[in-house]
Structure formats: structure tokens, C-alpha cells
Subunit: 310 residues, 2 copies
């Protein structure tokens, strides 16, 4: 895509509409892959898995994966959305476990009863964990349907498992839990969120890029974009939590403060946290442009993260 | 290997010694892969993961995978044990979650405090789940080190995720939990254990066979062997539970009976359950021989499962 073309598109990109259309595409793809992966599963397990996957959400990870794919290839491909659902499944598993009584003990998620409130803690534990191998299977099957080589499929699997595991997301969850017990400084807070949110967001970009046949430079730039976006996202989440927009967030307001957790606003002040988030968004966009990737969608998505805070 | 050679080996195979040597090999391999996979992981997460993996156990799944490999290839290969550790990691994850307060609420596992007793429920939940993506990474990396093609690695990954997921092990865990609430008949009990124990045991044989380059007939026969072995194993577990050998099992005795769960002895009587287990072991061995697989080790392992009951 030419720079001029990209910039003219950027100028007219209606982000609200773009997100709505994309979310619908992801929801459709997710329903398809869930039907496939839950076929033959005992209803008592399939129900909480399906419930968890169907409970709304921004679908940011699959939207990012599809946008990364389109940033490198002109032609869109519907199958990319099914591939990208693997990321949403791993993200969903982490939310189900995060909400458990032994973790954050949340009753609401996206305005709906959490999985353990709707079913029970045992079912939520099992259904959450079962989403991980299901995600790996979806990734492999859909990558094969996209015609990707076994070598690339293996890379995708290892990337998803790295980002969704102890070195990535789960490590961040654990550090986050510990943050309720011990004081966390600015460096520690960034480490938490690089793992908890950043790793899987970066993996979304990575997966979309690998599926599109990215070279090493493009991969690296998209990974940096994902990491910065993840940090900006978390800072804005902390800001929204302080501002207490329960209706919008659909979760109990100010919970992190109640738990005495370190947050970006508590460490940097509200204005300082806003500046920090804006800096990460700038770095995200700069990383893309530095690698010659002109994507109005990815740039708009980065700005969207900031706009949530207003 | 000739039939005569196999039979003479079977006659002299010292099972106790074989199991001891194999267990040591698996423990060594497990320590190696754990060190690799936990490198860089936050200590608070790495510790419960390592603790869970190091807590003894029979190591039956990796031993079976290695034996399946050797049944098809004369030359042994030490790397097969590291590959086989992926199965033990998935098995270990299921035990960690099974023991959680919201599931079976067990204090002891193999005579040691369970992970949530040694650490806490949040850490046990996270560490357990993190073992799944770690297992997939180990499987892929070690299969590559064995020189297996990306195509075969993809098959191995999908097989592990199928067996360790909603259609296999986790489905069985869920049905097992439900069995505490509703009456389970003979057919239902078999369905539970085909999932809960059988799927991963069958996957162990499948993984070892795929790594050795098995043909379709050999794969099918080894899968049947694994499924029958899994059922025999579970029946004997139920028998041991009734006979209440707490010291040997290292878990609270008669727990399943306390919970009012259906068990093989409660449905078939003690003698009936013994006959049923022996029948499954016979079928397991017959399946191997029918496919021309003469493995003194696999035959001895099948007999070992029965002998545990005496």
C-alpha cells in the first residue's frame, strides 16, 4: 500500500465504525471456531467455555492480529479472523482465572456474572484451563487452512505458548497478585504489565505478521508496537479505574485501590499517567513507521487506546 | 526385534528394576526441561511449577512414551525422555488443579503437601495452568531436537492438546466432579476414566509412536493399548482406595467413598473389578500383538498395573 493511499485512508478511517465491524467479524469467527472445538465436549464443560467466550469484550487481540496481517498484505482474508481467535481464547482463559475467588474474586466481568458465579469455581477452573489447549488446536488448524507451512505453524504455536505462559501473561498475573502484598515501584509495575497485558498483545501482532509472511524487521517493529500498546492500555485501564466508570467497565469500581495495589495513577499522578500513556502510543506508531509499515488501522487503534481515557 | 528375542527378554525383565531405572531417567530429563522452560520466569511462579513437577510420582506417561518408541525402533534415544516430559507436565497440571480447594480439596499428594497447601490456591491455579503452554513448548523444541519434521511436530502438538483438553482429560475431570453429585452407571464411569486417565495415557503411546515413525496400524494398536491400560489403571486405583493403603498412595484414604462417588468396586464388587481390570490388560496386550508389536516392556508395564492391586 502506498504512503499516500495509507494517509488518505487514515484521514477517513471512522474508528468507531471500524471497531464495530471488526468486533462483529471476530464474534462470528469465534462462534465458528468454538462450535468446532467444543464439538463432542461434555455439555457441563462446553457450557462454561462457551459462556466465557461469548461474554462480549473488545476483541482487541484478534482485531490487532487481523490489522497486522492487513498492514503487510493488501488482500484481506476472512480465515485470519478464525486464526486470530486463538489469541482471544488465551485472553479469555486468563480473565476466567483472574476472576476466581482465590484470585481477584470478582462477581462481574463485562457487566455479566463471572464464570464461577454463573457456574462454580471448579467449572471455571477447568473451563479456563481447557481454553489453552483448545486455542493451540485452533491456531494449528486455522493456520493450516490458510496454507501456512508446518514450520510457520510451529512458530505460531511456540509464540502463543510463550506469550500465554509463565514467561508472559501468567508471570504477569502472578506478579500482579504479589503486588497486593508488597510495595511495587515504577519498574516493577512495568514488568507486571509487560507480562500481564503486553505479552499477549505483542503476540497478536506477531501472529498476524507471521501469517502474512513478515520479514524479521517487520516482525520486530510490530512486536514493539504491541508491547507499547499493551502498556498504554494498562495505564488507561488504571486511569479508568480511578475515575470509577463502573457502568462502562462493567466491573466493580476502584477495586484495585481497595486492594491497595500500586497503579500508574498512584505512582505518577493522573496527569503523569496520561503523559506516560501518550508516550507509549507515540513509540508504538514510531516503531511501525521506522520499519516502513504504514497502517492507518494500527495507528488508529493506538490512538483509540488513549481516547478511552477521555 | 525377533519374537524369540522379545520373549526371552520378557522372561528376564525385572520390572521393579526397569521401573526404577526409567523413573530416574525421566526425573533427570524433567529436571533438564524444567530448568529450560523456567529460565527467566518470576521465582514466585517458577517455584510452585518446579515443586509440582518434582513431587515424585510413577512417571508412567513418559515411561510409556519411551517404551512405545523403543517398541518400534531398536536403538534407544535419550532425547525421547525429554520429549516425553511434555506428557508428565500436562499430567502434573491436572493433579495440581484436581487438588485445589474448589475441586477435590486434597492436602496431600504423593505424601507431600499439595501445591496450594505449600503455596496458596492462586499460585497453584496459575502454576498449574502455566504448565500447559510450557508442555507444548517442550514438545515442539524436543521434537525438533530429535530431528522430527515440522509436520510431525504439529501432529504431536495437536495430539497433546486434544488429549490434555476438553475432549480428553479435562472433560473426564469435569464428569468425575459431577459424579459426586449425580448417580453414575457403569457406562458413565468408563466415559469418565476414558477421558480423565485414558486420554493422556493413550497420548503417551501415540507421542512415542509418532516420534519413532509408526505407521497407521501401529499407531492404532498402541492407542488401544493405552486406552485399555488407562481403564485398568483406574480400576486398580479404586481398588487400592477401598483397601485403604494410605501409606502407599500418599493420599487420604477412602476419600472417594467419603464423597459418595461411584467407583468400580462399588459398581462391580471387589472381585468383579479385579476381573474387569485383568480383561483390559489382556485386551491391551492383544492389541499390540495383533499389530505385530512385540514389546516385553509394554507387556510388563501392563501386568504391573494389575500387580499394584495385590
Amino acid at each position: 500500500m502506498s504512503v499516500a493511499h495509507a494517509e488518505s485512508q487514515a484521514a477517513v478511517l471512522d474508528l468507531e465504525r471500524f471497531l464495530l465491524v471488526e468486533r462483529r467479524r471476530v464474534d462470528l469467527a469465534l462462534a465458528q471456531v468454538a462450535a468446532g472445538v467444543l464439538d463432542g465436549v461434555a455439555p457441563a464443560l462446553a457450557q462454561p467455555m462457551e459462556y466465557a467466550l461469548a461474554t462480549g469484550g473488545k476483541r482487541l487481540r484478534p482485531i490487532l492480529a487481523a490489522a497486522a496481517y492487513r498492514a503487510l498484505r493488501d488482500e484481506p482474508d476472512g480465515r485470519v479472523y478464525r486464526l486470530a481467535c486463538a489469541l482471544e481464547m488465551v485472553h479469555t482463559y486468563s480473565l476466567v482465572h483472574d476472576d476466581l475467588p482465590c484470585m481477584d474474586d470478582d462477581d462481574l466481568r463485562r457487566g455479566q456474572p463471572t464464570v464461577h458465579r454463573r457456574f462454580d469455581a471448579a467449572r471455571a477452573t477447568l473451563a479456563g484451563a481447557a481454553l489453552i489447549p483448545a486455542a493451540v488446536r485452533v491456531l494449528d488448524v486455522e493456520a493450516a487452512s490458510l496454507g501456512l507451512s508446518a514450520e510457520t505453524r510451529s512458530k505460531l504455536t511456540v509464540e502463543l505458548c510463550r506469550a500465554g505462559g509463565a514467561l508472559g501473561m501468567v508471570g504477569g498475573q502472578l506478579l500482579d497478585l504479589q503486588g497486593e502484598e508488597v510495595a511495587v515501584d515504577a519498574e516493577g509495575l512495568e514488568r507486571i504489565h509487560r507480562g500481564k497485558t503486553g505479552a499477549l498483545l505483542a503476540a497478536a501482532l506477531h501472529v498476524g505478521a507471521l501469517a502474512a509472511g513478515a520479514d524479521a524487521g517487520e516482525l520486530a517493529a510490530l512486536t514493539v508496537y504491541g508491547e507499547d500498546l499493551g502498556l498504554a492500555f494498562q495505564i488507561v485501564d488504571d486511569l479508568l479505574d480511578v475515575e470509577g466508570r463502573t457502568e462502562v467497565l462493567g466491573k466493580t469500581r476502584g477495586r484495585d485501590l481497595d486492594l491497595g495495589k500500586a497503579t500508574y495513577p498512584s505512582l505518577y499522578g493522573i496527569e503523569g499517567a496520561r503523559v506516560l500513556a501518550a508516550g507509549h502510543v507515540d513509540e508504538a506508531v514510531t516503531s511501525l513507521r521506522g520499519a516502513g509499515i504504514r497502517s492507518p488501522e494500527l495507528e488508529a487503534l493506538a490512538r483509540y487506546v488513549l481516547e478511552r481515557a477521555h
